[in-house]
Structures are given as C-alpha cells and as structure tokens.
Amino acid sequence: MFKDIIIGQYIPGNSPLHRMNAPIKIILTIFYIIILFFINNPISYLAFALYTFILVLVSKVPLKMILKGIRPMLWIFIFTAVVNLFMTPGETVWSIPIFKFTLNITSEGIIQGAKMLYRLFFLITGTSLLTLTTSPLQLTDGIETLLRPLSKIKVPSHEIAMMMTIAIRFIPTLAEETDKIMKAQTARGADFESGNIIRRAKAMVPLLIPLFVSAFRRADELATAMEARCYRGGMGRTKMKENKAGIIDLKGCTIFVIALLVLILLEILVEF
C-alpha cells in the first residue's frame, strides 16, 4: 500500500521536461494550477486535458505511474464528488428520500462535481509530472532559488529548502520502514485490517511507536553525519551544479505561453 505514494519519487530520464530548469518548471507548474482553476468552458477543458496529455507523452513517464499516484487520493475524489453532488443548490433532477430528509441531486451539482473531479485530477497529474521529472535535489534547489529574494526580509530560504529536501528524501525511507515493521508485527500475529475503528487505532500502536523511535534515531544520525561533513547552514554556501536557464527553457516557456494564449482565446471566443 505504501508503494503507491509517488510524491518525491523521481523517474530518471532525458526528456525535454527532465532537462528544463527547476525554478522555471516550478513557476510553470504554479501557472498551470492557476489556469486549471480559471478555465470554465468545455472546449478549454478539453484543450487543457490535451495539453497535459502531450506533456505526459513528452516526459516519457509511463502513464501507469501517474495513474498510480492518483489511486491513494481516491477517497478524497469520492468525497469531493459526493459533497458537490448533494450540496450545490439549483434545479433538482433527482430526489432520494432518506428517513425524514430528502437528498436532492441538482443539475448544477452534477456539473460542479464533475468540474471539481476534473480539477483535482489534473492538479495531481500536473504536480506529479513536476516531481516525477525533477529530482528532489533539483526541486528544492529550485525552491531555494525562488525563495532567495525573500531572504532580504530574513526568511531562512536555505534552511527551508534543506528541511524540505530532507523531508522528501525520507518519505520513501519511512514508507519502507513502515512496511517492514508492519510485516514484522503481522508475523507476530498483529492484525491491522479487521475490527472497528477503535480496535484498528489500537492496532496501530505496535506500528507507530517503533516508527517514531526509528524516525528520531534517523534524524539524530543524519544530524551527526551532516555536522561531521561541516554543514553549517546556508551562509556562504556555493553549489556544485549551478542551474542556469537555457534554450530548452526558452522553448518550454514559449510553448507554455502559446498554450496559455490558446486557452484564453477559447475562453473568450467560444461561448456556452
């Protein structure tokens, strides 16, 4: 179950998307999300989906990998859809009587629910595409670059980036550890899957305590290892690999802007 979490799981490659400069990719992803929440007609939805699909093709990341990242979010998807379906006021198309209440499904609700699902889906696809094509190191490097202007107002941009690097770096490690401890406790007869909520919560104790202990131990070891290699924060720290924007980034941005213009045109010209 923990193998499905793909945040921070980088798939090495040499596609144009992989080669692009990380800060620029992050900015483009932010714009991608903003656009996703702005578009509001079926044609632009279609165009946006097509655009994303092309990006996935260009990145050469297997489609399965992205779909797998969406699976853990399934419950959020279902919850969002249900809430939107029933809670949007409007013209009732279908009433379901439950005891004294009636739940009304409205046509607005159906549309709203579908829109929210669409947005969630592409939100995850877009951001996964960023993390799947950018190594965690490049990613935090990019964040640091983007945050650097803020260090003028004493925002510890390097420290924030470092903490994020470490956090991302440890997600798979902790997931692996969880898997291991779970197996060990299962072998001792622990049951994580049956019983009511209280029983299941109690069953988590044999899993959580060893996990916390090991997280603390790892943090301690890492701190020692970093100190032993003379880590002392961001002051005067230089980089082995400077990430400079190149032609490929210019191309990427151009394509992005064109796609954006097309979407805006579609929004304005096509009326529904």
Partner: protein, 286 residues
C-alpha cells in the same frame, strides 16, 4: 516440512522498476533441520523467507507447510503465521511495549491464549534466550543492542512456531553478541527435535559453525543445496557468485596447495587447529 514448488515472484509488475526476485524455486526442508540460506545481497533470500509465512504471495508456484497450502486464497493466514515465526533483520527495531515482559507477550496475546499460558511461555522463552528475570520488568529501550535482539527473538519464540526463521540474526552485533545468538540457535535446535530452524547469513563462518544444511541463492534461484560439506567443497563456484568459503578453509586450502597433507573438509577454526595439531604431531613424531 516445508515444500516449495516452482515458486516465482515478480516485484512491481508492469512498473519501470519491475524485477524478478525469485525464479522457479524448488525446495524441500525436513522437520528438525537447521538450515542456513546464503547469497549475495539482492539474491532473493529475504523475499524467499517472507513467502514461508505468506507475508508475500508468489506470482506463481506453490508453497506447502506441514501439508497446508500457504499460497491458496483461502489459506488460514493466522494459523500459518502461528506455525512459521519470522525474526526479521534488526528485529530490535520492532520493540514497542513498556516492558520486556509485555513485548514478549505480544505474540502469544494475539493468539488469544490464557494469561497463565502467556506467562508460562514468556518466562520459558525468556529463559531460553538468556534474558534475566529482573530484566523482564525493564523497558526494552533501556537494554543493550544484543539484549534487545534477544528480547525480539524471544517474542517470536513465545508463539512456539514449528518453523523458526531468522533473517541475518547476527548482523551488527559484537563478537560476543554474535556467539551468543549462534549458541542459542544451536540450543534451540537440540531442544526442539521437530522444529525447523532457518537462518539467513552473510557470514560463512557462522554458517559453518552452526548450520547442518545450506541453501545457496544466486540472482533469484537456488544455486546449490546440501550439507555444509557439499556446499563449501565447491569454493570456485561460490566465489563466482560473489560468495566464499570460511576464511579458515581458504587458509587450509592454501596450506594444502603448499604441500601439507590436510583434510578437505575443514570449516571451523577448531577443526583446523585439530587437524594441524595432528599433522604437526605426525611430522615431529611426538
């Protein structure tokens, strides 16, 4: 008895990281044997042992334990896990209870045994592992590394499995802790006539000292299987797959090449000392 027929296992099917971890494993392990599994890192040892109590199910093939088909969909997993106890690598990392006693009691408690029975089993397995009575009320986190590991092994043993599997039980221990654990394994083997004990090891010395039979894994399949003698006599083959014979055997082999008349099957320091003494005695005619 453990029986594996054509067991294959593929990791992450259909993903870019797809890898075949086990290829066509066929095994039979008799009751009461003490078996070592050796192999290079990534040769599938750990994956194989996890199949024995159905923590991992094979992609294809069949595993039977005492006649129970572990791999079938309707297998009683609770029963299987009671029969097959696995002590994982660094088992001390799974300790969580307030006291050593409670931690050892975790397994038996999950089996739904009565309090008296649990008490009896906890004390028995603690004694078996050389854990002192006064330590039972201590927090497991206050113990030393070697002690913690013994507590973890006691926790599995208290379930009285008919198959006990230990994944690298001596990894990361000091020489004393190492010898202690190996002694305990031997003792367990002597006291429980029917129990199958399987341990995974990287140390050829440990294997030579402790095991009766050896399974050699290489790239997901069983490369060799036999007695310690049969396996360690093929030192060339072992070296080819990144393993080796015990250091002392390498030494006696060199001595043999240099013309000393030593027997072939020397795998422990004690045996070597004995043989050399004999040889020296013969030469000097004392």
């Amino acid at each position: 008895m453990i029986k594996a027929e054509n067991v294959c296992y593929v990791y992450q099917i259909g993903m870019p990281f797809e890898r075949q971890a086990l290829k066509n494993i066929n095994l039979e392990i008799d009751d009461g044997s003490l078996v070592a599994i050796i192999g290079h890192t990534g040769s599938g040892k750990s994956t194989l042992i996890q199949h024995f109590n159905a923590l991992v199910k094979p992609t294809s093939g069949k595993i039977e334990i005492d006649g129970i088909n572990v791999t079938s969909k309707d297998a009683d997993l609770k029963l299987v896990r009671r029969k097959v106890g696995i002590v994982f690598q660094y088992p001390e990392h799974q300790l969580f209870e307030e006291t050593v006693y409670k931690d050892i009691a975790f397994g038996p408690k999950n089996m739904g045994l009565s309090d008296e029975e649990i008490d009896r089993r906890v004390r028995e397995s603690a004694k078996m592992l050389g854990i002192k009575e006064k330590h039972l009320e201590k927090s497991p986190f206050d113990l030393s590394g070697g002690q913690k590991r013994r507590v973890a092994i006691a926790g599995v043993l208290a379930m009285r499995p008919s198959v006990l599997i230990l994944d690298e039980p001596t990894a990361g221990l000091d020489p004393k802790g190492r010898d202690d654990i190996l002694e305990i394994i031997k003792k367990l083997h002597e006291k429980n006539e029917k129990m199958i004990i399987i341990f995974v090891s990287h140390s050829m010395e440990d294997v030579a000292k402790t095991a009766e039979k050896v399974i050699v894994m290489n790239e997901g399949h069983v490369e060799m299987m036999g007695t310690v003698d049969e396996v360690f006599s093929k030192s060339k083959k072992l070296q080819e797959i990144g393993l080796d014979v015990p250091q002392i055997t390498r030494l006696t082999n060199k001595l043999k090449d240099a013309g000393y008349d030593l027997p072939d099957n020397i795998y422990t320091v004690e045996e070597a000392a004995e043989a050399i003494k004999k040889l020296a005695g013969g030469v000097r005619n004392v």
